[in-house]
């Protein structure tokens, strides 16, 4: 891969800096335990900053970043941004709808979006399959004692 993903190194450093800042708000030492709750946070935040900086240097030196092998994946073709966006929408839609529309509708929407990301164009059929699958999961897991919320919370069901 010819690109130089400095943004990853920047992200790691930013992550470390947030942890370091949070650590600065915590006591570093405590008489009764020698080390306070902030000490390890400082260590970890500092390590992230250091390794982020090393990664940035490696990227500058031309480090290779080959994608991992996986089944059903072709690494020799450019990634499809639209498929990624659809799959991400499938994973992200629960944030918007779960508390209002409930598990069944949310999971159905996720199912349809993810299936579309995997190049399935049978929208009606996928909606039916997703709805049945979600309903079976909702009911079955409720029986198993896993609470998945109401059927349609916004309507009080």
């Amino acid at each position: 891969m010819a690109e130089r993903p400095y943004w990853i190194a920047a992200g790691v450093i930013a992550f470390g800096l947030v942890w370091l800042y949070q650590a600065s708000l915590l006591p570093q030492f405590a008489q009764y335990a020698e080390l306070g709750p902030g000490f390890t946070v400082t260590l970890v935040g500092g390590a992230l900053v250091v390794f982020g900086a090393i990664l940035a240097f490696q990227i500058y030196r031309g480090e290779n970043f080959d994608p991992q092998d996986a089944e059903d994946v072709a690494n020799d073709v450019p990634p499809s941004r639209s498929a990624l966006a659809l799959a991400a929408a499938g994973a992200g839609i629960p944030i918007l709808t779960m508390t209002t529309l409930g598990f069944v509708i949310t999971a159905t929407a996720s199912f349809v979006l993810t299936a579309r990301a995997f190049q399935s164009h049978r929208y009606v059929f996928n909606t039916v399959v997703g709805a049945v699958f979600s309903l079976v999961c909702w009911y079955g897991f409720r029986l198993l004692g896993v609470p998945l919320g109401g059927l349609l919370p916004i309507a009080g069901l």
Partner: protein, 508 residues
């Protein structure tokens, strides 16, 4: 004798009808996920964690062990019949096994893989039976600094050995450690890194991180580069049994593979890849039929498959005796123990003897079940590969949603699912290993506790951390893992720098 007695008690537990049912469910699910792409034993156990909260711990762990073992069996089926290893430990099996299948000897290849897995699994379980109690007793004399050093060794080994870059391994590890710090500090009661969100006071739920990194990250990654070709199945011919010659050529590789796989599997980051590769190389050197290698040598299937299964059993030794996970799946099993309020280690053998010995006995039972499930039903397993991928991955996402939303109905968990899923995607695209994140997240809080406890006992003197022989040796080995490869490379024993890195070393 004590082990015999405990094992007999374990069999009494494992052979109870409901535990037999859990063993069957586990081996069945395990074989299925070993065959299917996109799902591994780690993800399956992570997804099942919230579902099994109402199952008694013994039954749940018997099922998890079945999943773990079953995945190894299932992986060999796809390697042989499709040249598609279902999991990394089956890669060497594909080399010779698929050639055998193409030559009309698929049945013999499947049989030697299944029987070899059974032999290795059984011998390795005998190893666990007799090795685990003394190692667990050894752990009684461990001091906080010894535990801390042991965890440092686990951190170092997974970060250095796994993946293609040490720096990326360490970044993954520290991301896991950073996530593990969120929540109320157990020693002082101070809230850390909760950002004012009450949901974060209990820390980030492990199930959320595991499911998001594995399932959501994988679904995003495969979707973005999806290329599905219908599998070309080599027909199974020749009956499901081996000839006398096949037996003669298989039994020694089974034993040698087991002898390699079990100890290497028990090492931190030992994994299944190294013993299977070593087994293949050794069988290739020792064979009396070198002309068969590359064209379908049965030894090349028997040895690596035995090594693969023995390594899987080896992983359970440090996990059960020291509470030390040496692979991603073991880390999730440790999380499962913690979910039930149990801490693997010496006290587990005393406080939850029924569970541990029931689990060990169930490995014997599970091996027999897997042999029965895998040989006659091989045609059924292969059909699983025909599941349309859009439904497979969409189904995985719905199960992820069940796992995450079902934990605590927390909106924040859904935000974390999306964010950590995206992190998992980036890690796959830029080749960051995922196992160090899990090991850091799960072992981090324990390592911190032991670290602070050791320093408190030593009144803040950092030399306390290496004040016992055990801690000194373990820290030295950890540093050795980091330094020795570098020194060897400097001395000319390592690999040459890759030409493409050299060529690209000048900034544009």
């Amino acid at each position: 004798m004590n082990s015999f007695y405990s094992l007999a008690q374990g069999f009494a537990v494992a052979l109870e009808p409901h535990n037999l049912m859990w063993a069957f469910v586990g081996t069945f699910l395990g074989t299925a996920i070993g065959v299917l792409p996109g799902i591994g034993p780690a993800l399956t156990i992570a997804l099942l964690l919230p579902v099994t909260v109402n199952v008694d711990p013994t039954g749940a762990f018997i099922m998890f062990a079945g999943i773990f073992y079953g995945a190894m069996y299932g992986g060999s089926t796809t390697s042989i019949l499709l040249n598609t290893p279902g999991e990394s430990g089956s890669m060497m099996t594909a080399l010779e096994g698929n050639k055998m299948a193409r030559n009309g000897r698929g049945a013999a290849a499947l049989a030697t893989a299944a029987i070899g897995s059974f032999v290795a699994g059984t011998i390795a379980t005998i190893g666990i039976t007799f090795l685990a109690p003394p190692i667990a007793e050894l752990a009684f004399i461990f001091k906080p600094q010894d535990y801390f050093a042991l965890m440092v060794l686990a951190f170092m080994s997974v970060s250095v050995v796994m993946g293609s870059s040490k720096v990326r391994g360490f970044i993954a590890l520290f991301i896991g450690l950073a996530l593990g710090l969120i929540g109320i500090d157990g020693q002082t009661g101070v809230s850390r890194l909760a950002f004012g969100l009450p949901d974060l006071l209990d820390g980030v739920d492990m199930t959320v991180v595991l499911v998001s990194l594995f399932a959501v990250g994988e679904a995003l990654y495969v979707a973005s580069r999806f290329a599905f070709a219908p599998p070309h199945l080599n027909p199974i011919s020749g009956g499901l049994w081996m000839t006398r010659e096949d037996w003669k050529r298989s039994w020694k590789p089974w034993i040698r593979g087991t002898a390699l796989g079990f100890p290497i599997g028990a090492l931190p980051a030992g994994g299944a890849e190294i013993p299977t590769f070593l087994s293949y190389t050794i069988e290739r050197k020792l064979t009396r039929h070198p002309e068969d290698f590359g064209n379908g040598a049965i030894e090349g299937v028997a040895g690596p498959e035995a090594a693969n299964n023995a390594a899987a059993a080896g992983v359970l030794v440090p996990l059960l005796t020291l509470g030390l996970p040496t692979s991603a799946t073991a880390a999730i099993l440790l999380a499962a123990f913690q979910n039930y309020g149990l801490q693997p280690g010496p006290l587990l053998f005393i406080n939850s003897g029924d569970l541990v010995w029931g689990l060990i006995a169930s490995l014997y039972v599970g091996n027999i079940m897997l042999l029965i499930l895998n040989l006659p039903l091989v045609g059924l397993w292969v059909r699983l590969l025909l599941i349309p991928r859009p439904y497979l991955y969409a189904g995985i996402l719905i199960f992820s949603l069940v796992g995450i939303w079902g934990v605590s109905n927390s909106w924040l968990d859904l935000v974390l699912m999306f964010s950590i899923g995206c992190l998992g995607y980036v890690m796959r695209v830029y080749d960051f290993p995922i196992a160090p994140v899990l090991i850091g997240l799960i072992l981090g809080p324990m390592a911190e506790t032991q670290f602070r406890r050791a320093l408190a006992i030593g009144q803040g003197d950092p030399l306390t951390l290496v004040s016992t022989p055990m801690s000194g040796v373990l820290i030295a080995v950890s540093l050795g893992l980091l330094v020795v490869p570098y020194l060897l490379r400097k001395a000319g024993f390592g690999k040459e720098p890759q030409p493409e890195i050299q060529a690209a070393s000048e900034p544009r």
